[in-house]
Symmetry: C2
Subunit: 345 residues, 2 copies
Amino acid sequence: MRTIELDVKRGIVKMIDQRQLPHQFEIVECRDWRAVADAIKEMTIRGAPAIGAAAAFGLALAARESRATTRDDLLNDLDAAARGLRATRPTAVNLAWALDRVVGAARAANLDANGTREFIVAEAQRLADEDVEINRAMAQHGAALIEDGDSVLTHCNAGALATVDVGTALGVIIEAHRQGKKIHVFVDETRPRLQGARLTAWELTQAGVPMTLIADNAAGFYMRRGKIQKCFVGSDRVAANGDVANKIGTYKNAVVAHANGIPFYAVMPTSTIDMNLANGDLIPIEERDAREVTHIEGMPIAPEGVRVGNPAFDVTPHQYITALVTERGVVYPPFVENLNKIMTL
Amino acid sequence: MRTIELDVKRGIVKMIDQRQLPHQFEIVECRDWRAVADAIKEMTIRGAPAIGAAAAFGLALAARESRATTRDDLLNDLDAAARGLRATRPTAVNLAWALDRVVGAARAANLDANGTREFIVAEAQRLADEDVEINRAMAQHGAALIEDGDSVLTHCNAGALATVDVGTALGVIIEAHRQGKKIHVFVDETRPRLQGARLTAWELTQAGVPMTLIADNAAGFYMRRGKIQKCFVGSDRVAANGDVANKIGTYKNAVVAHANGIPFYAVMPTSTIDMNLANGDLIPIEERDAREVTHIEGMPIAPEGVRVGNPAFDVTPHQYITALVTERGVVYPPFVENLNKIMTL
């Protein structure tokens, strides 16, 4: 199944429970938009494109839940749901992008209440289907950057689980493997939530791609020893100047890759690119619960009550980014100019 | 108590069990040199100066265990114990340094079997006592580098627990705090063994030094935001050109500190400086068990059977090191020249 699906007949959203992997493969069913919002907040589903699709499906449930009989009342209910969904996580722009797209299109369609309901459901489904197509296009563009014999580093999970299907950075890597290139993947475990160890290692094992799991601390060791030829990561938001917000630790990897002359690619749909922000320092960075750092699998690993800093993302300045891989092609510097071009295609 | 002590009367070596902290404070008693070797291997005790003292105390136990009645037979038994102790961990040079010092001094003393026995016990005790004095001197030299209001980053544990007492990098930090400087410490949790979260956070809490525990991935985030003014780490071996082997992840931190113009200091006794190695690439790097990465507190965090890379240390090229803090003073570049000077003092 896909990472997230809308079951129109039953009026539910089904998603793979990413908190249980790799130990258990479980499906969570959300019966209303609030359950979808909770699933995003608690990271039952995560990954910028995946939470965009989740938000769209949340709106589809909200449209069905609403007892409104007029278009205006329904749009009011949808706006309320959109506010609730938008508040779940601040960094990934795909969430806001998906909400704005679905509500905006519904408003523009100018249908009656029931027509708007049907439109919203169809638009959310369209958005999810498009995500899969977009990821396939990125995988093709990105795989061309990987050569036979390359070892690549990836951080966090930018795979099928971070999207509706296929994946961004990991989609690129798996496509290169499917094309018959002999590749090896170094997987950062990605503290504090361990998405690399839990999710990326699981996806690569499923796909049969040779890999080595490492502590985040070890990535520099392998870069300096010449064991890594390229880095591929996803993104949660890209600013107009090419600065990339992504999972905490991306910045360290990019700086160290740069010091070792290793190309560093970020892979994202154009829906992740926020042309409204001049640079990455304007991207809001989510601070998450201290317990993500002080506990692992429920076990304490630090003295009780210790103060914790837990930013979920960091910003990599565009100087450290070799290119951005999008569904419309690979974007090289100068990013201000070339992002402008690709975004107005 | 000290991290490690020799109880001459009972003929045992006592050490704090660092695998149990911060949850439990337990003392392990070693009754023969093989138990000391196992304690080093299993990281019941760790930290370059601490395992140097442990090796010396291991020899003291070996001297008492030996039934040799002649000097030559006793020295043969000591050589065998030294070989066993030396094989436990390859990277920290203090281990070999301590063994060579104690056996060499005993050989040079040229006493009979019982005289040699007593000499070895006294020499091991002297080495441990000196370690405390040396750490106190380093703390003074290093604390002068910290200004009132500084926030500093440290990686792994280079505290009292990594030495006989006081500590190297953390000794410097705690001394600055004791001098009344208002400082704040960012503590890298230090995967995979979490010495930062378990040991450094515990030591700083005990000492009442304000601190923030972070995932290793987050250090770059705080550096780029101007929240960190200086970095202090310990070392397991320094080459003649100033290259520093230290806990895995040190290299990434040093490169990112350099990119942000943040001074990066390594603190170590001169016994950690290996003038026989021209550069850091010649330092043997220990590869440890995959389970350190795939399991935390006995719980699996990755798919079963996944391939793992687990180097325990990395090498930071001297270009990224601002200065080396030793008991003989602070050594600045050019390191080849200035290390030569300080080592022949």
